[in-house]
C-alpha cells in the first residue's frame, strides 16, 4: 500500500501547468473566469479544442491510435485538474468523453474515420439525445422510433434535456428500432446531423436566465443507415458502457476544487458586521465540512482510478462518486451564494458579455455565482438522479 503521490507526477504537473499557461489565450481565460453563464461560450470551447489539438492534447484519454496521449489515469487526473484550475474552457464532453469512446470501441471503420477527427479537432459540437418527456429515470421506456426503410432510418419522436442542442452540429441519439422485444433490447445508438430536415430544436428557458437545455423534435427525419453505431438493438449496452467508461467524470472533482477555492476568495473578500465572512464561526464550520468532504471525494476518485479492491462491486463506487459529487457541487455553489449574502440576489443576465466591470461593492466574483447555483440543482437530477443512484447502491452493495 503506497498512498503518497509518485514524485514523477509532480514533474508532470509542472510541465502541464506550464503548457496550459503558454497556450491558453489570456482573453479566453479571462472570459471563462468571469462568465456569468454556467456553460462556456461555444466559440471559445471550439477554439480551445483546436488549440489543444494542435498540440496533440485535445483527447488525451483516447487510445493513442485515435489521438490520445497514452497517459496513465493519474496523469489524466492531473491534466484535467490543471485545466480547470487555469480557467480553461471545458471540453465538449458530449463528443470527447461520451460519443468518442463509444465510437472507437463499437463504431465501424467508416464511422471512426469520419467522426473521431471531427471531435478531436474541435470542428463540431455534439448533442446527447437520450431523455424523453416520458422517459427520464425510466430511460429504457423511450419511444422515439427509427424504422429502417431501404438504406435509411426514418426517425420520429421527441427528446428533452438535450443540452446545447441549439448550437450542436451533430447529435447521438438513443432510438427504438424494434418494438417487439424487451425494452432494453430494442434500442439503438444513432448519429443524426442536426440540420437534417425534420429536426426542430426548441430552447427551454431556465431558472437562471440561460436556455442551454433543449427539446428536440424529430419528424420523419431521414438518417443514413450507416450512421447507426455497432449493432441494431445494442444501444442500451453502448449507453451503459458510455456511463461506466466515465466513472469518475460525474464526481466533478476538478470543477468543485476550483469553485471551492472561489468560495474561499468570496468569504475572504466579503465583510459582514465588520468582520470577514470567513471569520463567522458558523460559516467557517460549514466551509471546513465542505472542504473535508471534497478531500474524501477526491480520494474516492483516486481509489477508482487505481482500481482499489473493496467489498462491493466496482460500479458501486461510481454511484458514490455521482451522489457525493453532485451534492458537493450544490453545497459549494451555495457556500458561494451564502458568502455573498443578500448580494447574491442581484440578477446578472447571461446575455451581455462581458459582465459589468467590478466595483468596490460588486467584486468580479459576484456575477455568475447565483446563475450557476440555480442551475446546479440539476446536478442531482441528470445522469441518473440521486434517488436512482441510491437504488443502484442498495442493490449492488447490499443485494436489496
Amino acid at each position: 500500500m503506497e498512498l503518497r503521490l509518485d514524485p514523477d507526477l509532480q514533474t508532470f504537473r509542472t510541465e502541464v501547468r506550464a503548457f496550459i499557461d503558454s497556450v491558453l489565450p489570456a482573453e479566453m481565460k479571462e472570459r471563462q473566469r468571469r462568465k456569468v453563464a454556467n456553460n462556456a461560450a461555444v466559440p471559445d470551447l471550439l477554439e480551445w479544442m483546436r488549440i489543444l489539438n494542435a498540440h496533440g492534447r485535445s483527447v488525451p484519454h483516447w487510445p493513442v491510435e485515435f489521438g490520445g496521449c497514452g497517459w496513465t489515469p493519474m496523469q489524466l487526473f492531473i491534466f484535467n485538474e490543471e485545466l480547470y484550475k487555469a480557467d480553461a474552457p471545458e471540453f465538449d464532453w458530449g463528443g470527447t468523453h461520451m460519443l468518442g469512446p463509444v465510437l472507437y470501441t463499437y463504431g465501424s471503420g467508416y464511422l471512426k474515420d469520419r467522426f473521431l477527427p471531427m471531435i478531436r479537432e474541435g470542428a463540431t459540437m455534439w448533442a446527447q439525445g437520450f431523455s424523453e418527456p416520458g422517459s427520464g429515470s425510466d430511460l429504457a421506456s423511450l419511444r422515439t422510433s427509427a424504422e429502417l426503410v431501404g438504406d435509411k432510418y426514418i426517425v420520429n419522436g421527441q427528446k428533452i434535456w438535450t443540452s446545447g442542442a441549439a448550437h450542436a452540429d451533430w447529435g447521438f441519439f438513443l432510438v427504438r428500432t424494434d418494438k417487439n422485444v424487451k425494452p432494453q433490447r430494442g434500442i439503438s445508438f444513432l448519429i443524426i446531423k442536426m440540420d437534417t430536415p425534420g429536426v426542430t430544436v426548441r430552447q427551454i428557458p431556465q431558472i437562471n436566465g440561460e436556455a442551454h437545455l433543449c427539446e428536440v423534435f424529430l419528424d420523419n427525419v431521414e438518417v443514413p443507415a450507416d450512421q447507426l453505431i455497432g449493432e441494431p438493438g445494442m444501444g442500451w449496452t453502448y449507453a451503459k458502457f458510455l456511463l461506466e467508461h466515465e466513472r469518475t467524470t460525474s464526481s466533478f472533482i476538478y470543477w468543485s476544487k476550483r469553485e471551492l477555492a472561489r468560495a474561499k476568495d468570496i468569504a475572504l473578500g466579503e465583510m459582514t458586521g465588520g468582520r470577514r465572512v470567513a471569520d463567522d464561526p458558523a460559516f467557517r464550520a460549514r466551509f471546513a465540512r465542505a472542504e473535508a468532504d471534497l478531500l474524501a471525494l477526491e480520494w474516492s476518485v483516486l481509489r477508482v482510478l487505481a482500481h482499489e479492491e473493496f467489498d462491493a462491486p466496482e460500479a458501486a463506487a461510481a454511484s458514490v462518486l455521482k451522489i457525493r459529487g453532485s451534492e458537493l457541487q450544490q453545497e459549494i455553489t451555495m457556500l458561494q451564494v451564502d458568502a455573498l449574502g443578500a448580494k447574491a440576489l442581484r440578477f446578472f443576465d447571461v446575455a451581455p458579455a462581458p459582465p459589468p466591470a467590478p466595483t468596490d461593492v460588486w467584486a468580479d466574483y459576484a456575477p455568475g455565482r447565483t446563475t450557476v447555483a440555480l442551475i446546479n440543482r440539476a446536478a442531482t437530477i441528470y445522469g441518473g438522479s440521486k434517488q436512482i443512484q441510491k437504488n443502484i447502491l442498495a442493490k449492488l452493495a447490499f443485494g436489496l
Binding site: M1, A296, R303, A394, F398, L400
Partner: protein, 375 residues
Amino acid sequence: MDFAKSDIQTMLLDSAERLLSENADVEYWRHQRSSATGFDEARWMQFAELGWLALPVPEAAGGLDGTIEDIALLNIALGKALATEPYISTIVLAGHVLKQSADEARALDLLGEVAGGTLRIALAHQENGAHPLDVEVTGTSARRSDDGYIVSGTKIMAFDAPSAGQLIVSARLEGEEGVGLFLVPADAPGLSVESYALVDGTRASDIVLADVTLPSAALLIGGNRGAAVLREAIDRASIALMAQAVGAMEAANKVCGAYVQERKQFGVAIGSFQAIQHIMADNFVAAHQARSMLYHALANADEDEATRSAALSAARLVIGEAGQTVSRNGIQVHGGYGLTDEYAIGHYFRRLMCMEKQYGDLIQHGERFGDSIFG
C-alpha cells in the same frame, strides 16, 4: 499510488481474520464488558504472539518496525470486531512517545516489554476543561527535587489507564519552557485513581497526583520536544482510532444489510422498501467516504505538523460524522431491537460514539481544520 496490500499486510489481516472473527459477537462483547478490565487478557497475549504488539516497535527492540499503514490496516480489523483491547493507548500512542524518548536504551527495554504483552501504558494528559487538542498543560506541574521531580495535578479520562502498569503523565516543568512527559508507575505513592467504564465497555480513570516523587529518569521527554511529540502521538492515536471506526462502520453496514433482508413486515423483507434501501445507500456512501479520508490522513501522516494535523482533522470530521450516520441509521432500520443490548448494532453505535469523541471531537477537529484553511 497503490492500494494493493504488501505481504506483511496480507499476513497481518489473515491472522486478524482468524483470531478476531471467532469473537466478534454480542455474547463475547457483553462478557468482556463485565470482566475486570473490559477485555480478555489472554487474547492480549495472543496479540503479542502474533506480533501485533510489536508492529510499531523498532527492530532493535524485537519489533517489526511497521508503517502507519500497517497499523491502520490492523486497526480496521480490530474495529470490525469491536475489540476493546488497549491497542491504541499502549501500542500506538505510548509506543510513539517511548520511541521518541531521550534515553534510547531504556526506551527499547520498555518497548520490548510492551511488545511482549507484559507492559501496558496509558496516557494521562487530559485535564478538566482543557481543550483535548491543546498539548500545553496548565493544571499539572513538575518541580525539580534533589534527585528527580515532584509532580502534582489532576488528570481526567485517561483512556485504558485501569489496566495499565505505567502511565505517561504530561506536566508543566516549573521554571522551564515546554511540556514534560513522565513515566509514572500506576501504583506510585501519591496517586489516587478513580476508574470507571465508558459506554462502549472500555475503561478510563481520573487521576489525582499529590506530590508524586519521581526519579530523574522518569522524564521521557522534556523541554521543547515534549509538546511536539505529544501532538504526534495523539495524531497517530487518531489515525488508529479512525481506522477502527472505518472497520466498525463497514461491519455495522454488513449487520444492517443482513437484518433488513431477514426482518419482515407487511409480509415482505423491509429491505424491499425504498425508504430502507435509501438509508442503506446513505450508510454505504458514508462508510466509503470514511475510508477515503482514512487514506488521506495516512498519506499525510509523515508530513510537517501543519499539513499533518490539517489532514487529520479533516479526516476526523468526515469519519466522526460518518460513524454517527452509519450507527444512528443502523439503529433506525433495526427499530426497537436496535435499542437492546442483545443486537450488535447498539454495540457499534456506542463504540462509534466513543471514537467520535476521543482525542478531539467533531467540533474541535472542525475548528482546527477551519483554522488551517482561513488562518
